[in-house]
Subunit: 187 residues, 2 copies
DNA sequence: TTCACTACCTATTAATTGGTAGGGTCGTTG
DNA sequence: CAACGACCCTACCAATTAATAGGTAGTGAA
C-alpha cells in the first residue's frame, strides 16, 4: 500500500511548516511515522525525491484552496481577506507558508526543486490575479501597475507578514497590517 | 587585536545573508576567515554567542541605515522608496534580510536570540513609523489604522517581497510590486 | 512450489556538526 | 628573567546527517 508513503509525506510537510526544512530529517520523520529511518529510503531513495513530491503535492492542494476562494461570489476585497485568512490560519498553528519556510535554504535545494517552487509562486500569483482582475472590472479595487504585479505584491506581503508576525506581533498584528494593505488597494 | 573577531562576524553575517543560518557553520567560517575551526571557539565559545553578537551588531547598523533615510528632507513616499531600496540592494546581491533569513529557523534559536530578533523588528518598525507619521502630517500618505500598523505592514511586505523575488521575478518584479504597495499608500 | 515483488528490518558507512583538551608561540608587564 | 594572557594550533569527541548493504518476512501469480 502507499499508506505509509502518504504518512511520510504528511509528517514531512508538517515538519517543514512548523520547524523548517532543516528539522525535516529522515530521523525525525522516522520517529513520527513509526518506521525505521532506512525504511523511508525505500519509499524515497533520496531526500530530494521526498522534497520534490512534497512540493508538487502542496502546489496542487494550496492551488485548489486558493482557487476555491477566488471562484466564490464575493466582491474582490472580501476575497483578498479570505486569501489572507489562509495565511492567518497557518500563523495561528505556528506554521509557515512553504514558500517562506523553504526559500531561506533555497541554495541547498536541487535546481529541480527550485523550479517547482518557482512554478508554485507563479501559479499562486496567477490565481490571485483573477481576483485583482475582478476587482478592477467591478470597480472595487484600485491599483497602479498590472493585475499580475498587484497579485504578486499582495502574495509577497502575505508571505512576509506571516514570517514577521510569527516573531513579533502574532495574529492580531497580522490582521491589522493586512487591513492596511487591503484598504490601500480598495477603491 | 579583535581584528580576527571582526573578520569572523563579517563572514558569519555574509553567510547568513547569502546562504542561510544553517550554512553558517564554524567550518564554513573557518574556511573563509583562514583560521582553524577550534580557534573560532576562542572568540565565540558557543555558537549562540556569535549569533547574539551578530544580531545586536546588525540591529545597530541597519537601524542607523534606516534612521538616516527617515531623517532626510524628502517627502514620505520618496522615503518609502528609499527604504525599499535597501531591500532591493540586498536582493541584487542575492542576500536576504536577516529577519527573513533567520526567522525560518526560529525554533532552533536560543530564546535570548529570539528576543533580539523581536527587538530588532520593533525598532525597525518604530523607525519606519516616523516616516508614516510624516506622511500623515504633510498629507502625502493616506492609510487606515495607526501609523505603527502601517509601518509594520510595509516592513513585512519588504521582507516577503525580498524572499519571493529571489525565487521568482528578481529585481524588476520587486520594483513593480513595491510601486503597487507605495501607490496604494500614497494620497 | 517456485519466483518476483513490496515493505520493512538491522547494521553500517562517510561526512559534517558543535564542542573540548591540551599544547605551543607570541607580546606585554611586573 | 619570569609570569601571564591573547591567540592559534593539532587532535580529538559525541551526536547527527543522508545513504547503502544485506537480510527477512509476507503476498500474489505462474
Amino acid at each position: 500500500m502507499n499508506d505509509t508513503r502518504i504518512k511520510i509525506l504528511d509528517i514531512a510537510k508538517d515538519l517543514i511548516h512548523r520547524v523548517g526544512i532543516n528539522a525535516m530529517s529522515y530521523q525525525h520523520i522516522s520517529d513520527a511515522v513509526g518506521i525505521r529511518k532506512a525504511s523511508i529510503h525505500h519509499h524515497f531513495p533520496k531526500k530530494e525525491n521526498l522534497i520534490e513530491e512534497l512540493l508538487k503535492q502542496c502546489q496542487v492542494s494550496y492551488g485548489n484552496n486558493y482557487q476555491h476562494i477566488v471562484e466564490g461570489p464575493e466582491l474582490a476585497p472580501q476575497k483578498l481577506r479570505q486569501l489572507a485568512g489562509v495565511f492567518k490560519d497557518g500563523l495561528q498553528k505556528e506554521q509557515l507558508c512553504l514558500v517562506g519556510a523553504i526559500s531561506t535554504d533555497l541554495n541547498t535545494l536541487q535546481s529541480s526543486s527550485c523550479s517547482i517552487l518557482e512554478e508554485t509562486i507563479q501559479n499562486t500569483v496567477d490565481i490571485f490575479a483573477v481576483t485583482f482582475k475582478q476587482g478592477q472590472e467591478e470597480g472595487s479595487l484600485s491599483f497602479t501597475g498590472t493585475v499580475e504585479e498587484s497579485a504578486y505584491a499582495f502574495f509577497s506581503f502575505l508571505v512576509g507578514m506571516q514570517i514577521v508576525a510569527r516573531v513579533n506581533g502574532g495574529v492580531k498584528a497580522f490582521q491589522h497590517a493586512t487591513e492596511v494593505i487591503i484598504s490601500g488597494l480598495e477603491k
